[in-house]
């Protein structure tokens, strides 16, 4: 039995299409400049990708959860293989020309496997977590899901693409949480990263270690786990500086520029400063659709990809931002409802994984335009130009639509 169009979840469909229309219009505006830019007509290509993505979605929505669950390991393995292939023969391109994140055939770039791998991780985690009767209760049980997200994470970091890598981690934590893992366990899992960040201040790091020790005593995990967590945090404190030095200079600069964009206003901080100027000069009502001066004069960096939301801020003002953010939050709440009402844990985790992925992208991307988050080159779903991620987004929406449809078919009602 395949779902008919009119039986699909209308709010999800409507919200997604509204966002897609908003995104396309913004992309069109991003190409309207006073200086020659390569992306003047790129909204047409994005439209083509959307149509292709809708076709893929129409196909994916017909796949039953059972078939999907069965094929998940193969799909995941395929994604990992593609990532390995990318590392071997990948090419740079677009706004991240320094990193090799593209697969190309005969010089024609056909896609970024990292985007597909996000779907692979969601599916694989859903399958693994759904198969268990109980949520992971110990750190040891977190090793497998950690590996599922960790393998693509490491492969993407090697490209190197820090931004996409963080998305895998976010998906992992979101899905573990949704599977019912105790928050304390998640905190212990995350603790080495916190220790790593705090290691730049010896005092803060020391305080963190003391606090963590207290928490370990309080939560009473297995002795060896507690020891492992403490050891990992201490190791992080030791390796923090060498790890920092091993980051590429552009990554260091981005993190530093996040802390203070004025450090290097012409280079790393330039993006954020120009973005804030564009957004801030939009005011309440904006400068008018296609009339943003900063955008027209190409002061906005990557205004058709990473910083496309700055165009919204400049041209449509705070009201436009309000509409955009409200639409995204609505989308998330709809996805949450779908995850909540899913008929089986696998579908539920699937929908929540999609939520986790999109939320990470939206929060990080919009946040960086106003210096709320560090600058990473991850796209804004349905806005930023990019074929692979557009198709992945539509497929992810299709998976959620299918889940919602399954629930509707089984007559689910809230109590």
């Amino acid at each position: 039995m395949t779902p008919r169009f009119r039986d699909l979840d209308r709010p999800l469909l409507a919200t997604t299409l509204a966002l897609a229309a908003f995104g396309l219009a913004t992309l069109y505006s991003a190409g309207q400049t006073d200086v020659p830019v390569a992306f003047a007509h790129i909204w047409r290509r994005q439209l083509a990708w959307f149509i292709f993505g809708l076709g893929a979605a129409a196909f994916v929505v017909r796949i039953s959860p059972q078939l999907l669950e069965w094929s998940t390991p193969y799909f995941y393995a395929g994604c990992v293989a593609l990532l390995l292939l990318t590392l071997a023969v990948g090419v740079g391109g677009g706004t991240a020309s320094a990193s090799k994140s593209w697969l190309a055939i005969g010089g024609l770039r056909i896609g970024q496997p990292a985007e597909l791998a996000k779907l692979g991780v969601i599916l694989m985690l859903a399958r693994w977590l759904a198969e268990r009767r109980e949520p992971p209760g110990t750190l040891r049980e977190l090793i497998v899901p950690g590996m599922i997200a960790g393998i693509p994470f490491v492969l993407v970091l090697l490209q190197p693409d820090l931004g996409s890598g963080i998305v895998f981690v976010a998906i992992l934590f979101a899905m573990l949480f949704w599977a019912g893992t105790r928050p304390s366990l998640l905190l212990l899992l995350a603790s080495p990263v916190i220790g790593l960040i705090l290691a730049f201040s010896t005092v803060a790091w020391g305080a963190w270690i003391v606090l963590l020790f207290g928490l370990v005593l309080w939560w009473r995990p297995y002795v060896w786990e507690g020891l492992a967590v403490m050891l990992a945090n201490i190791v992080m404190g030791v390796v923090a500086l060498p790890a920092w030095r091993s980051l590429a200079p552009y990554q260091q600069n981005r993190l530093l520029a996040f802390l203070n964009p004025e450090i290097d206003p012409r280079a790393a901080g330039w993006h954020v400063i120009q973005s804030k100027i564009a957004i801030g000069s939009g005011g309440l009502l904006g400068k008018g659709f296609t009339a943003g001066t900063q955008k027209r004069l190409a002061f906005l960096p990557a205004q058709h990809t990473d910083f496309i939301f700055s165009v919204v801020g400049e041209e449509l003002g705070f009201l436009g931002v309000l509409v955009g953010v409200t639409l995204f939050v609505t989308l998330f709440l709809i996805l949450l409802r779908i995850a909540r009402r899913a008929v089986d844990p696998y579908s539920s985790l699937l929908a929540f994984g999609v939520l986790g992925m999109l939320f990470t992208h939206v929060f990080e991307n919009i946040g960086m335009t106003v210096n709320l988050m560090p600058v990473t080159g991850i796209p804004l779903p349905l806005f930023s130009y990019g074929g692979s991620f557009a198709v992945v987004t539509w497929i992810a929406v299709a998976l959620s639509l299918r889940t919602a449809w399954q629930a509707r078919q089984s007559g689910y009602r809230d109590f």
Binding site: V35, W178, G280, G283, Q294, L297, F318, V370
Partner: protein, 608 residues
């Protein structure tokens, strides 16, 4: 209990909902802060980072002569500049422009230096681009982001070298100048007068630069012009001078070629400068848009110092022209009358103490009156007159009418004449009691410790040719002001001195230069020069009955004033529009051994 039991799932969903809404609110809060609270700041930044102010240079005031003929004007010129932007794009544009703008590597380096000093101003690549270059650049405009070609008024001196020292020249303001309050308002790279009238009246000639705004893209490429109403430049105030361009041209043409010297012509009634010429000259047009290094080197290294305005910046021993000053002092003190004779007639020299002071005429002049002594420039007569006056009077009286102070002419860099201000000078020079009244003999014939600028000597003769009171020589009428000092002579005495000077031309040392149609009075002099042939002076006025012009001329290495007199009489005749056919051509010794002239206290003028 299964983790996906609706109760547990709902509890987690509640957490997630709170997180979602909180995140949404945080994001909206950040946008609110940026867009609503920070609107003013960001709107301003949005304007400033896409707008580039461009200076629209004001046209300098036109300089006219007394009849309204143009001495200095402005013609349209092209300036090639690059709009400021990120340093790398400015440098890239510069590199690409260099071959078309014919810039050498050194020039590019200098331009980059200038850009780094003022990174928010358009960096001027060529201040004076020829039309062909502008056309070539315009054709390839798209390749050069940030290229800015402006038509700017360019200074032009139609008569080129003729009035060079008088007008001066313009150049880019120097760093040191901008530190002075006078030039504080001048933008970096702005033009200011560097010498002459351009310098003296720079404040009013300069005008006020305008400003316009263009919109640039992130790469510094100009997208739109004049997005806000431009502030139009205010042209400088025109300057009407007292110069007679026709006379100035005549002086320049009549001055013997390849000679060094100076000519200044005044109206004795009011001190107006009719002509002011110094040779060798320079081409002030060559400074427009930046002087070529080779030309600058030529100007500064030439031993003849072409940039030096000899009328006000060179000092020469006045020689016999000074005898008029001495005669005036003696008449004023009543020591002699116009017909007074000296005890010892001239026999070619005078024994004083253990020294024999020669007259220039070895055969002697015999017994002379003051008038005759002036006409024949008899040294022996003036030796005795000097002794009668005494050193103290000679020094004090000269300072009474300005013999050792600047005339105050409205030109920059006038040198003070060298003349002892009192007896202390000799005490310092030789030691108290170690010098004798013999210095009076030298002073009386314009030798010794006496070096005057031509303009100062012109003023002395202006006094003699008028009522005995000095007029401040000036080029611009508003500056005219009377000097309180005076020669303090009666009209008869002045008349007598003038008669004596008429005899100089009619029957005396300059009789070869007399002109039939007009009576000219004057005085020749030979300024002793220890470095080569003597310099020749002639200072004359005409018409003798009611003088309308005083001309002081010095030609270096002319050997004697007799050789200079014809130049002056020609200038006077031309000014008074009388026939000059009777004037003999200049008969000068050839300038084969010019030697190096030493100029006391020579100050290099302005080094851009």
């Amino acid at each position: 209990m299964n983790a996906f039991h609706p109760l547990l799932a709902e509890r987690r969903a509640q957490v997630v909902r709170i997180v979602m809404l909180a995140t949404g609110l945080v994001i909206l809060g950040a946008f609110f802060r940026t867009q609503i609270l920070g609107y003013r700041v960001h709107a301003l930044q949005s304007r400033t980072n896409r707008m580039r102010p461009i200076t629209v240079p004001a046209a300098r005031g036109i300089i006219y002569d007394r009849a309204g003929q143009v001495l200095a004007e402005n013609v349209p010129g092209f300036t090639v500049a690059v709009l400021p932007g990120p340093e790398d794009s400015v440098l890239a544009t510069l590199r690409r422009i260099a071959p078309l703008a014919r810039l050498s590597t050194g020039e590019v380096g200098r331009i980059v230096d200038r850009y780094r000093r003022a990174p928010y101003q358009p960096v001027v690549v060529r201040a004076d681009a020829p039309l062909a270059m502008v056309a070539a650049l315009e054709e390839r405009r798209l390749q050069f982001p940030g290229l800015l070609i402006q038509t700017e008024p360019k200074r032009y001196y139609p008569d080129s070298t003729v009035a060079a020292h008088l007008l001066g020249y313009v150049g880019e303001v120097a760093e040191s100048e901008r530190a002075q309050p006078r030039f504080a308002a001048v933008r970096l790279g702005g033009l200011v007068g560097k010498d002459g009238l351009e310098r003296q009246y720079d404040d009013s000639l300069r005008g006020r630069d305008g400003m316009r705004y263009v919109e640039v893209s992130a790469l510094g490429r100009m997208v739109r012009e004049d997005i806000v109403p431009p502030l139009p430049p205010q042209a400088g105030t025109p300057l009407r001078t007292t110069v007679d361009l026709d006379l100035q041209r005549f002086v320049a043409a009549a001055f013997p070629p390849n000679r060094r010297g100076a000519v200044v012509a005044l109206d004795p009634a009011n001190g107006e400068v009719l002509a002011l010429y110094s040779a060798p000259g320079f081409d002030p047009n060559a400074f427009v848009g930046g002087v070529a290094p080779e030309y600058w080197r030529h100007l500064t290294e030439d031993p003849a110092h072409p940039l030096l305005n000899r009328v006000i910046q060179a000092r020469y021993p006045p020689g016999s022209t000074w005898k008029l000053a001495v005669a005036a002092m003696a008449l004023k003190r009543g020591i002699v009358g116009l017909r007074s004779r000296m005890p010892i007639p001239c026999r070619g020299g005078l024994q004083y103490g253990n020294r024999y002071f020669r007259c220039w005429e070895p055969l002697g002049h015999g017994d002379l009156t003051l008038e005759q002594a002036i006409a024949h420039s008899c040294d022996v007569y003036f030796y005795q007159l000097g002794l009668k006056l005494g050193v103290t009077s000679l020094l004090e009286d000269a300072s009474a009418w300005g013999g050792h102070s600047r005339t105050g002419i409205d030109l920059p860099g006038e040198l003070q004449p060298e003349y002892p201000s009192g007896r202390e000078y000799y005490d310092r020079l030789y030691g108290p009691g170690r010098w004798t009244s013999a210095v009076a003999l030298n002073l009386a014939i314009g030798q010794g410790e006496n070096a005057q600028t031509p303009v100062n000597m012109a003023r002395l003769f202006q006094m003699l040719a008028s009522d005995g009171r000095p007029q401040v020589p000036h080029l611009v009428r508003a500056r005219a002001r009377r000097d309180a000092a005076s020669l303090d002579l009666t009209l008869e005495q002045l008349d007598g001195l003038r008669r004596a000077m008429i005899s100089v031309v009619e029957t005396g040392t300059a009789r070869g230069s007399r002109v039939a149609a007009v009576t000219i009075g004057g005085k020749t002099a030979t300024a002793q020069n220890s470095h080569g042939p003597d310099h020749g002076w002639f200072i004359g006025f005409a018409p003798a009955e009611a003088p309308r012009i005083v001309v002081a001329a010095i030609i270096e290495f002319a050997e004697h004033g007799t050789a200079v007199a014809p130049l002056v009489t020609r200038v006077i005749s031309h000014y008074l529009r009388v026939d000059t056919l009777e004037v003999r051509p200049l008969d000068l010794p050839s300038d084969t051994t010019p030697g190096v002239m030493t100029i006391p206290d020579f100050v290099p003028i302005v080094v851009p």
